[in-house]
């Protein structure tokens, strides 16, 4: 394995807009809200930034293509800006671009921004889109909940579970995130729900009900990263560093080969193995203090606990019901509410996860602050279980 990026890049400032139904805000407003927070946090002027990466998924309904919207909104001094898109891993991809540029020595200070203005699409869920000129000819007309719901049927079948029992564990996933999101002033959904409410919600795609699905939100998030030596000058000795960033896209096995059982995500297993290795983590169940995972649907978070090697195969439902991933559990998951309640403005989500880990590591998470977190793990899953992009990033304090 290559040397990797561990501790080669520091995060010196982060910002995140309020997520939610931001009818009164345009992308410019959301991005500015996040960026100004990060700028103050990093104690720099925007002219110090060498290059920027801009993550947007639904370009047609958001800001359009290309990088210049970011340059224009922030009045950047004509520095390089790169627009990136990688489904729901878009925000993480913008961060990876900035981090790699700093790690490579091409930049001293780099900016990563992710933004999505989903509530301008007119859809209650994610809008329809083409899958490609060939794929449209044969791919099913799926929706994200329907595609992820497949995990539920396949998981129950694989482990011989009664769907009613699996649904109880799934409901606990959502219940926990609503409890956490209630404490987060920037979260989209700040309302506690009972297990009964979750279980009795109207169906969306079997076995998922409405409360198994995450919020569809507007929002922006950003990070300013720099070489550790610069970080010391700007923010002192204690700062957050990037321990690893790994990405794993599907190569067609899930769609076309019988070796995949449909009950998990191959890519998350690959990306997390590499991320743990890059970060020097041999026992994630001990070393990882918290996770922000891609809980687009309750069943997704459930299988991810196994795919991230935090539960044994077949044991995630029990671990979830035992409270292992609750706020007071061994490895809290979605302490900020997650996609479920913080919300899921696609292009911003990866950076939002990083934002929460950043706050937790620096002890700035207020009511939801965890005790002495050591390493935080962010996980994105772009696409659907059949064909996706998994991103796993690990962050900790500088050593």
């Amino acid at each position: 394995m290559a040397e990797g990026i561990k501790d080669k890049v520091a995060i010196i400032g982060m910002g995140c807009s309020k997520f939610g139904e931001r009818w009164d805000a345009r992308p410019e407003d959301l991005i500015t809200e996040a960026f100004e927070e990060a700028l103050v946090d990093a104690k720099i002027e925007k002219e110090s930034i060498d290059a920027a990466w801009f993550g947007v998924f639904y370009d047609e309904q958001n800001v359009g293509k290309s990088a210049y919207p970011l340059s224009q909104y922030l009045r950047l001094p004509n520095i390089p800006v790169t627009r990136v898109e990688n489904l729901c891993a878009t925000g993480t991809e913008s961060l990876r671009g900035a981090v790699y540029a700093v790690a490579a020595g091409a930049c001293d200070i780099a900016l990563a921004v992710g933004c999505e203005k989903l509530k301008d699409t007119g859809f209650a869920g994610l809008p329809e889109r083409t899958k490609g000129t060939f794929e449209d000819l044969y791919q099913p007309g799926f929706t994200p909940p329907g595609a992820f719901a497949q995990l539920g049927a396949a998981y129950a079948h694989k482990y011989g579970l009664d769907m009613a029992d699996l649904k109880k564990a799934m409901a606990h996933v959502s219940w926990k995130s609503h409890e956490n999101g209630f404490l987060n002033p920037k979260a989209h959904l700040r309302k506690k729900l009972s297990i009964e409410q979750i279980l009795n919600a109207p169906p969306v795609a079997y076995p998922l009900g409405v409360f198994d699905c995450c919020g569809v939100s507007d929002g922006a998030s950003c990070a300013i990263v720099a070489r550790p030596e610069i970080a010391k000058d700007l923010v002192g000795e204690n700062f957050v560093t990037v321990k690893s960033m790994q990405l794993s896209p599907s190569n067609g096995v899930e769609m076309g080969h019988q070796s995949w059982d449909g009950a998990g995500t191959i890519t998350t297993r690959k990306a997390s193995e590499r991320a743990y290795a890059e970060a020097g983590i041999s026992d994630p169940r001990t070393d990882i203090s918290m996770t922000e995972v891609h809980d687009c649907f309750s069943i997704t978070e459930l299988v991810l606990m196994e795919d991230l090697w935090l539960s044994d195969d077949g044991m995630a439902p029990k671990d979830i019901l035992d409270g292992r991933f609750d706020a007071d559990g061994d490895i809290p998951c979605q302490i900020d509410g997650g996609l479920k309640c913080f919300g899921h403005p696609v292009g911003a989500s990866g950076l939002r996860m990083t934002y929460e880990i950043y706050l937790q590591l620096l002890g700035r998470a207020n009511d939801r602050q965890l005790k002495d977190p050591k390493f935080g793990l962010a996980h994105n899953l772009g696409g659907i279980p059949n064909r996706n992009v998994a991103a796993v990033s690990i962050f900790g304090m500088n050593e």
């Binding site: 329809e128 889109r129 000819l137 044969y138 799926f142 969306v204 079997y206 096995v253």
Partner: protein
């Protein structure tokens, strides 16, 4: 000259039907007289079926019993063909993955469209003619055809080896007698008065033609074992038989009770139903009515005893799911236009360049078979999908259409756009290898489980409302419970 006639046949009825009482319950306040027909059930095709897919399904039933290499000519017959200027037969041929030198043509214009090529074959002794008929009649609410019609497909194949029913002779007569008509402007059938049709049309056209055909072949009405008169009104055949002197027990069942009149497909569907049970050496008088009449004499051979259709017409009818949801029935043939939601607004423009380049993949469901690791896969790709192989350019064509599969995962999606919600889809595993993420059909909500057997059905995939186009692909269909 040796025997010449039919060597195989196949039938197809959709998964569902609606009880005629359920129709009458909704439209009786408009047309109380239709109560006379408010009994039994009529088959109806789902929104994703049309005359082409019905014909393909029937032809595939036929090809379950016969080698496709015997097909040299394909005649697609229908008055409800989806395309006015694009070979519908060409779509059927592509779905059947027939050889590209197959001569294909569309037959249309009257209810006799399926018999026209059969009459020609009878005169010319044309081997290897596959006639694939399909009809999905658009019906107007409260029109009598809404009660009388049914959707179906039927197919026959001609040849001179292992003939199951010899084509003896055929005669035709033409007459511009307008019992009903449909134009692009009318959209649905305009149906004329029943008794006038029977007495001035059917009786006066049929009787002399049948007499002439029998006389020219030195036969009498007494010789007829099965009399097939496919018309919409179920009582007409018996009346005409009486007029012609044909014995009552020879009159073939019009399939009214459990199917309905399937237009162009109906002569062949009734013939197939007859052949399903006919004894050797039975004389069949097959007719077709529509601006004249065709009359064809067939005689079953000893091979009929050993021929077994993959699914009989009676089995299809017996196993139709009976529904009573009238709006769902209307939606299936475009007579009901609810708000399907924003997801229905997706632009389904087809990239014709890609559709043509990938025609065998999409229409023939032909994927790849890696000769290095023996892994079947869809779609065919430059590199093998098997993670242990990934060999480059090792794949041969591999048709999945006739390979059984099992459900590996599924959902019933109430959010996705579908004209018959929920949209059911998931992963399936093919016997012998291969996995597909695919839409499913023939299942009701709560009716599907992992491990269920599925078989591939050729269906409409997406409708492009803006451009009046639709494209086809395959769906994993529930295995019919027979």
């Amino acid at each position: 000259m040796g025997q010449f006639g039919l060597t195989a046949y196949g039938s197809y009825l959709p998964f569902q039907s609606i009880s005629r009482q359920a129709i009458f319950d909704q439209i009786g306040w408009i047309q109380g007289g239709l109560k006379a027909y408010a009994k039994g059930k009529r088959s109806y095709a789902d929104w994703d079926e049309d005359a082409v897919t019905l014909a393909v399904a029937a032809a595939r039933q036929l090809l379950n019993t016969t080698d496709a290499a015997q097909v040299q000519n394909l005649s697609f017959a229908s008055t409800t063909a989806p395309f006015l200027d694009r070979s519908n037969a060409g779509i059927v041929a592509a779905a059947l993955d027939l050889a590209d030198r197959t001569h294909c043509h569309d037959s249309s214009g009257s209810q006799r469209a399926a018999l026209a090529p059969l009459v020609a074959a009878c005169h010319n002794q044309g081997d290897g003619l596959l006639i694939a008929a399909g009809e999905k009649k658009p019906v107007q609410p409260a029109n009598v055809m809404e009660m009388l019609a049914g959707d179906a497909g039927a197919a026959v194949l001609t040849g001179s080896e292992n003939v199951i029913a010899e084509l003896i002779a055929a005669q035709s007569v033409c007459s511009d007698f307008v019992d009903h008509y449909r134009t692009a402007e009318s959209g649905t059938d305009y149906v004329l008065e029943e008794r006038w049709v029977r007495e001035e049309g059917l009786a006066k056209i049929a009787a002399p033609l049948i007499a002439s055909l029998l006389a020219d072949n030195n036969m009498s009405v007494e010789d007829i074992d099965h009399f097939i008169l496919p018309v919409a009104y179920p009582s007409h055949a018996r009346a005409i038989a009486r007029t012609c002197g044909i014995k009552e027990d020879a009159v073939a069942d019009a399939l009214f009770t459990d199917c309905g009149f399937s237009g162009v497909a109906h002569p062949l569907l009734m013939l197939n139903d007859c052949l399903d049970r006919a004894a050797p050496n039975s004389l069949i008088l097959l007719t077709g009515f529509g601006q004249g009449m065709d009359a064809i004499l067939l005689k079953t051979t000893e091979h009929i005893s050993s021929y077994k259709a993959s699914i009989s017409v009676q089995d299809f009818m017996t196993n139709l799911r009976v529904e009573d949801n009238y709006p769902r029935f209307l939606a299936s043939n475009g007579q009901f236009h609810p708000d399907w939601g924003m997801r229905a607004e997706r632009d389904n423009r087809t990239a014709q360049t890609v559709a043509f380049d990938k025609s065998r993949d999409i229409y023939g469901l032909v994927g790849g078979f890696c000769t290095s690791c023996q892994t079947p896969q869809f779609p065919k790709a430059r590199r093998c999908v098997n993670p242990e192989c990934n060999a480059l350019d090792t794949q041969q064509d591999y048709r999945f259409a006739d390979i059984p599969a099992t459900v590996k995962s599924f959902t019933e999606d109430w959010m996705a756009f579908n004209r018959n919600p929920p949209l059911i889809y998931g992963n399936i595993s093919f016997e012998g290898g291969g996995n597909m993420f695919i839409e499913m059909t023939g299942f009701s909500p709560g009716d599907i489980a992992i491990g269920d057997k599925v078989e591939m059905d050729f269906r409409i995939k997406d409708i492009d409302d803006k451009r009046g186009f639709h494209r086809y692909f395959w769906k994993a269909a529930a295995k019919r419970k027979m």
